[in-house]
Each structure stands twice: as structure tokens, then as C-alpha cells.
């Protein structure tokens, strides 16, 4: 008898019985910090910040980090962005801030702390067009912000022709045992179009499981079915939380579980259509989960929201 259907069905029921309870946060952002950098991602960052501000009824404060004091040309560029936001038909409440600090990332951090900004929208890599760095590096300012910024970061990776289209689809890559995932999912529901879609995508990473199997000295071979079943079980709590939130808000929620190379499959899924990738990472940067989020961010063409808890 072929047991793959049985494994699938068992995995589903096990997820109902064993899923860890996940609570979705309900963020209420009042201030968005838009940190421009003069790169070709700026227009997308500005459009996203403006649209999110309209949805959240929040204000946008525009800044730009520089090496040392901001020159006049930079100040003019930031003022122009503020003006552009204010000129929108929906009239975004906007302001400008510049903080003094030796490094751009430190200036942005200082601005975020001063404002108590709930979200930072920022090009990544910072201070460079993505074409120069590609998927090699997020840049050192972003590394620093990822390590120290307490507010979620919306990293704008590539310039998008229609940035608002990305808000129709939120993709949450499932990671194991990360409390921040509940917070990331909360942001996903906050940002998504009312008639948009939230997707939870879980991948049982064959390579990681194989390493663990060897490490633990487990002789039993783990089949794809068994991995899928285990991953479904793990995703149970999160699935329940997002589905209940989806029912409550009327947003379409789709949950998918796969087996294979986690990064490759996740990036493939991200690039199916414009989206915002909503990720949660632990505070500890040495963890595998943090590393995975970083890799997903590096590989993604679309903006990535990183929430740390």
C-alpha cells in the first residue's frame, strides 16, 4: 500500500493536536521612518511608505543617513520627497529629520529612537543601487540596522514598476520556533490589501534534516512524506493563527507545506508574483533562523519586512 496519502492525512491531524499556539501581534503604527539613500530603490521606498501611511493613517518622517553632516543637496532631496508625499491626493502627513552621528546607520537609528518610529522603510543595500551589489551583500548600514534597530525594517531590494502591487500579496516563510513569526504575520495582515492574499509557506529542509539525522545517529531514512508530515505538524499553530485572522479580517489565506531545498523553494515561491516577504528573526544573530532570513532577503527581488523579537 502507498502510505503517502496516509502520511499527509496524519500530518494534518497531528498539526491540529500538537501545533504550538501562536499569537499574532496587532501592530498600530503611528510613525513610519523613510530612510532614503539616493539609490534607484528610493522611488519604490517612497511609494511604499506613502501607501502604508495612508492605510495606517500614520505620518511619514523622511531622512537620509550620510557620512558626517548632510550636505545641502541631500537635504533638498529629502525635502522634495516630503513634498511629494504631502502632494499625494490622500495627503500624507510628512516631516523631515536629520540626526548627527558618525555613520549613516547610526543617524537612522537615532532618528528612529527619537521619533519612536514603528516601521523603517529603507533601500537595501543602503547607499548603493542594488545592481552594484546584487545579492552579494545587504550593505554594512543594513547589517547594523538588522542588529540594533528595534522597529521592523521594510527593506526595499529592487526598484519596482508598481510598488503598490506588492501589497496585494504577503508571503510569510515559515521558520521554526521563532516568536517573531507571530509579529511578522501580524504586520502582514496590517499591510495587505483587503482583497489581497497572505501566504504561509513552510519548507522542510532536506539538507538540514539530513544533517540532524547524521548528528543524532538516526539510522532510519527520512522520506519526503515523513518530512512533510513533520513540517505540517510544526506549522499547525501558525496555520491556525493566520487562518483565524484571515476569517476575522476577510483576507484570503493560503498555507502550503513543501519538502526540498528550503532557500531555493522559498525564493521560487517569492518570485511567483510581486509581494512583500514578511519574516521574523530572533534577536540572536548567530542563529540559523537569523541566517535563513538574511539569505532569503539577499535572494529576494521584492521588499522584505524583517521583524525581530
Amino acid at each position: 500500500m502507498d502510505f503517502s496519502d496516509l502520511n499527509d492525512s496524519l500530518g494534518q491531524f497531528e498539526s491540529a493536536l500538537s501545533g504550538e499556539k501562536v499569537t499574532l501581534e496587532s501592530p498600530a503604527p503611528k510613525t513610519i521612518l523613510l530612510a532614503l539613500d539616493g539609490s534607484n530603490q528610493d522611488a519604490t521606498a517612497l511609494a511604499l511608505a506613502g501607501e502604508l501611511a495612508r492605510r495606517f493613517k500614520a505620518r511619514v518622517v523622511v531622512t537620509r543617513g550620510c557620512e558626517g553632516e548632510a550636505p545641502e543637496a541631500v537635504r533638498e532631496q529629502v525635502e522634495a520627497a516630503k513634498g511629494e508625499l504631502a502632494a499625494q491626493p490622500y495627503g500624507v502627513d510628512s516631516a523631515v529629520i536629520f540626526k548627527s552621528a558618525p555613520l549613516p546607520a547610526q543617524q537612522i537609528l537615532a532618528a528612529q529612537q527619537k521619533l519612536g518610529a514603528d516601521l523603517v522603510v529603507i533601500p537595501a543595500p543602503y547607499l548603493r543601487d542594488v545592481g552594484l551589489l546584487g545579492d552579494e551583500s545587504l550593505s554594512s548600514p543594513i547589517d547594523m540596522l538588522l542588529a540594533e534597530c528595534t522597529a521592523p525594517l521594510l527593506l526595499v531590494r529592487h526598484p519596482l514598476d508598481a510598488p503598490k502591487a506588492a501589497l496585494r500579496r504577503m508571503l510569510i516563510p515559515m521558520t521554526v520556533n521563532v516568536p517573531a513569526l507571530g509579529a511578522a504575520a501580524g504586520w502582514a495582515f496590517k499591510m495587505v490589501d483587503p482583497d489581497g492574499k497572505v501566504e504561509l509557506y513552510a519548507v522542510a529542509d532536506e539538507a538540514a534534516v539530513e544533517d540532524a539525522r547524521k548528528l543524532m545517529g538516526v539510522d532510519e531514512e527520512l522520506t519526503a512524506d515523513a518530512l512533510l508530515r513533520a513540517e505540517s505538524k510544526l506549522a499547525g499553530g501558525m496555520t491556525s493563527a493566520v487562518q483565524q485572522k484571515g476569517t476575522e479580517t476577510g483576507v484570503t489565506v493560503v498555507v502550503d507545506v513543501a519538502v526540498g531545498k528550503a532557500l531555493k523553494l522559498t525564493l521560487g515561491r517569492i518570485h511567483e508574483a510581486p509581494c512583500i516577504v514578511c519574516t521574523g528573526t530572533p534577536l540572536d544573530r548567530t542563529t540559523r533562523a537569523f541566517n535563513r532570513v538574511q539569505n532569503v532577503t539577499l535572494g529576494s527581488k521584492y521588499p522584505v519586512l524583517v521583524v525581530r523579537r
Binding site: M1, F3, D5, L6, D8, S9, L10, Q12, F13, E14, S15, A16, L17, G19, K21, A235, G236, G237, T239, S240, A241, Q243, Q244, G246, T247, T252, V253, V254, V255, D256
Partner: protein, 465 residues
């Protein structure tokens, strides 16, 4: 069947110009194929394909196949055999897609956990609800996917509550065969016979649905008595209720849209089955329509959904029809039909009851699908002899489904239940245990079914077309 009678029958046919040798050779090929399937010496699709291949060679060698008009070779007749059964194949393909998409939508898993929560972890209530769920899920999803969902639920819930899974899994194995009688579309065997006989959908509510409930009740009470000592759970009722309360049905939902769409498509397909004859289309049209709607609106990847069609079942059916079609050309099935008539004295009710007993016994030993498929041309032959065959079709449907209860290999639900229990929990239900409880249930169900059929015949209760 009495071998002497069979030989006499064969001799009669031989007098009509039919050779005995082709009958014997093709009869041996068919029987050998069924034996290989019964003992699982080969995968059933492979066994049937091999049987079909050999049967076609034999039929061609004996010159049994007529050369169809406009064809150059007699081999084209094989295509005609398959073409004649396209209706059944269409129904299987269509329902298989629809049922697969529905069973993977999470809808039935969601409902199952909701129902389990109502038991508050009480083992006796759980036993009752597992039985009821089997009836409902098999009714809508057919035997294999319906049983699979309830068996997996039973395995997971009994593990969580530290209950012995044996009675629950056995309940699914046996009650599923009663549930297959609920509607025309509740089981592959029922579907195949309904398509062949063209019995109206609504007639099933009058003839087989009441018997489905009666036979399920018999199974429930016998199993409860047999396994009563195992239907217990450790801990207090409060502890179990607390444990069950933590079950989270929302963890099973993959896509709410697919939920609603599957429910609507399933509902419309059932309405389609019920009205197919009135609107002048075949069941295959309705089933394929349902399958197509599932592919279009479920949000599933069509490529994946098409791949999940049980193509081995389709191959099995095609091969089976080729074997039976080849055997039919040897006139062996005419001999079988004549023998049945002779044995039953040519009386319609006796013939119906004879076939019923024969199929009840044989379906426990051999997969009920080959048994039923072999008897389709036999019943058609009886029709040409002037028999009112509707009661025989009903007898065949009822017996072929219930007959699988006697052994662990008699029906797909038993195979799923027994092998899943062994794989997941390491608990083996041996032939001895299964035979003891299965045969007792089959005996009681058989007596009731025969009495039921007799009453229908005696009081003219069978629907008239």
C-alpha cells in the same frame, strides 16, 4: 458453482457451436489473474495488465474477436471493448480528481476535528462518532479517501488520549463497506455497477441507503460487543476533556476558498448525479464536470491534481474490462449465466438470492471489483434471456460491497485500516482476529441483506423504471 453443472452448461454451449477449449483457456487466464490479485503476488494493475495481454493473445489465437466493420484486423475489437466501458472509466477519472481535491482541501479534516471535540474524549462517544464519520465521509468521498481520513483521525486521536486504536480502526474498516451503499457515488464498485446498470440515483435512497444504515448498525453493535473491553481510556473524564479542548481545527485549514468551493462543487456533482438521466447525460459527464470544476476553481495546481488521479486504478479497470471482454467472446460467461439460471431453477427471486450469496462469499476472498465486473456481462446475458434484472443489479451492488467485510483483504477500507494500524502503531490485526469478527458481522449482515432483498422482491418494492 457445481462443476458438473458448469460442464453441462459448457456442453450446451458447445452444442450451440462454441468451443470448450477457448472457454477453458480464457477461464484459466481470468481465474489466475484474480488469484494473483487476491494474494497480492503482483500489483493489481500489473497483474490485470498481464492478464489482459495474455487474454488478448489467446482470444486472437482462437479467432474469438470479430472483425469490426471497416477494420482490417480483429485486434480492433479490443478498442471496442474498452470503448464500451468509457462511461465507467470517465466516472472513475472524474470522481477521483474531485474527491482528491476535496479530501486534500482540509474541509473534511476540519469537520472531523470539530466532531471529535464534541466527544470530550469519551472513548465510547468517540467510537460512535468514528462510526458515524465513516458513514458520512465515505458517502461523500468514496471508500478509499473517506476511510483514509477517518483511519488517520482515529490513529492520531487515540494516541493523544492513550486509547487502544484497534476497535476504532476496525470500525472504519468494516463500516466503510456499509457506507459505500449510501448513494450511487459512495464507492467505486457501486459506481461501476450503477453505470453498467443505469439505475437511477434516487432509487439508491429507496433500496440501498436504508440497508447501509442497518448493516452499519449491525457492525457497530457487534464491534462494540467484541471490543467493548478495549473501548476505555486512562485518566479522568475532566483530563480527557481538557486534552480534547486543545485540538485546533484551524491548524488544518490550508485555504478557506478551497473549502467553500469544494463543498459547492461536491454538492453540485451530487445534484448532477441525481438528475443525470433526467437531463439526458451520462454519469461520466457529471463526474468529469465535477473533476473539471475542481481543477478550475480549487486553486490547486492542475498538473499536481491530474497527477494524483489513481492511474493505477484506471489501468486496472481497463485491463479488467479487456480480460472480461475477451472471456465474454469465448461464451464462458454465457455458460456461467446459464448455470446460474439452472441452479436457481430459472426463478427470478431465487436467481437474485443465489447471486447475492455467491457474491457475498466470493467478495471476501477476491477484490470485489473483479467479481462485480465479471458479473456485469452475466447479468446482461440474463436480461437477454428475459429476466427482470433490476433486482439482480441491486443484489449485486449490496453483496459486492458487504462481502468485503469477511477478510482483511476483502475491501480497500480493510486494507487501509489494517496496514495503517500496523505501520503507525505497530499493532497487527491478524487474519484470525479479522475473520472472527468480520465473518460474524458478514453473516449477520448477509442474513439481513438476503431477507431485505427477499422482502423487496416479495412485496414489489424495487423501484420500477
Amino acid at each position: 458453482m457445481n462443476p458438473t453443472t458448469a460442464v453441462e452448461g459448457a456442453a450446451t454451449v458447445a452444442e450451440h457451436g462454441h468451443d470448450i477449449l477457448p472457454m477453458v483457456v480464457l477461464g484459466v487466464i481470468m481465474t489466475a489473474t484474480y488469484v494473483v490479485i487476491a494474494f497480492e503476488w503482483l500489483h493489481k494493475a500489473l497483474a490485470a495488465s498481464l492478464g489482459a495481454f495474455v487474454a488478448v493473445i489467446a482470444a486472437l489465437a482462437f479467432g474469438l474477436f470479430p472483425i469490426p466493420e471497416g477494420a482490417r484486423t480483429a485486434y480492433v475489437h479490443v478498442h471496442e471493448i474498452v470503448g464500451h466501458e468509457l462511461g465507467v472509466l470517465g466516472v472513475i477519472v472524474g470522481t477521483s480528481i474531485l474527491v482528491d481535491v476535496s479530501s486534500h482541501s482540509g474541509l473534511f479534516h476540519f469537520i472531523a476535528v470539530k466532531i471529535v471535540k464534541r466527544t470530550q474524549g469519551d472513548p465510547k462517544k468517540l467510537f460512535f462518532f468514528i462510526t458515524m464519520m465513516t458513514m458520512v465521509f465515505v458517502t461523500f468521498l468514496t471508500i478509499a479517501p473517506g476511510s483514509l481520513i477517518v483511519v488517520s483521525l482515529a490513529l492520531v486521536v487515540t494516541k493523544a488520549l492513550d486509547i487502544n486504536p484497534r476497535p476504532y480502526v476496525m470500525a472504519v474498516a468494516i463500516v466503510a463497506n456499509s457506507a459505500a451503499l449510501m448513494t450511487l457515488a459512495s464507492g467505486v464498485c457501486t459506481l461501476m455497477l450503477a453505470t453498467a446498470s443505469q439505475l437511477p440515483y434516487v432509487s439508491f435512497f429507496r433500496v440501498t441507503t436504508p440497508l447501509a444504515f442497518i448493516s452499519a448498525a449491525i457492525a457497530y453493535f457487534v464491534l462494540k460487543r467484541f471490543y467493548g473491553h478495549l473501548i476505555t481510556a486512562p485518566g479522568t473524564a475532566e483530563e480527557r476533556a481538557e486534552r480534547v479542548k486543545t485540538f485546533d481545527e484551524w491548524a488544518l485549514v490550508k485555504d478557506r476558498r478551497v473549502f467553500y468551493r469544494c463543498a459547492i462543487i461536491l454538492g453540485l456533482t451530487i445534484i448532477g448525479f441525481a438528475t443525470a438521466q433526467t437531463i439526458g447525460v451520462g454519469l461520466d459527464f457529471i463526474a468529469l464536470g465535477g473533476g473539471l470544476a475542481a481543477l478550475l476553481f480549487s486553486g490547486h495546481n492542475p498538473e499536481k491534481s491530474i497527477k494524483v488521479v489513481k492511474w493505477d486504478t484506471i489501468i486496472f479497470f481497463v485491463a479488467l474490462f479487456v480480460i472480461i471482454g475477451s472471456v465474454e467472446e469465448s461464451h464462458l460467461l454465457d455458460v456461467l449465466a446459464n448455470s446460474i439460471v439452472e441452479l436457481s431453477g430459472g426463478e427470478a427471486t431465487t436467481t437474485m438470492l443465489f447471486i447475492s450469496v455467491f457474491v457475498l462469499v466470493l467478495s471476501g476472498i477476491v477484490d470485489n471489483i473483479p467479481v462485480a465486473a465479471t458479473l456485469i456481462p452475466v447479468v446482461r446475458n440474463l436480461e437477454t434471456q428475459g429476466f427482470a434484472v433490476d433486482p439482480i443489479w441491486w443484489a449485486l451492488i449490496i453483496s459486492a460491497n458487504l462481502g468485503g467485510n469477511s477478510t482483511p483483504v476483502g475491501s480497500i477500507s480493510s486494507v487501509i485500516a489494517v496496514s495503517s494500524l500496523e505501520k503507525e502503531r505497530g499493532i497487527k490485526i491478524g487474519w484470525g482476529e479479522f475473520l472472527k469478527v468480520g465473518c460474524l458481522i458478514l453473516l449477520l449482515q448477509g442474513i439481513v441483506a438476503i431477507g431485505y432483498l427477499y422482502a423487496f422482491a416479495r412485496f414489489d418494492l424495487f423501484p420500477v423504471r
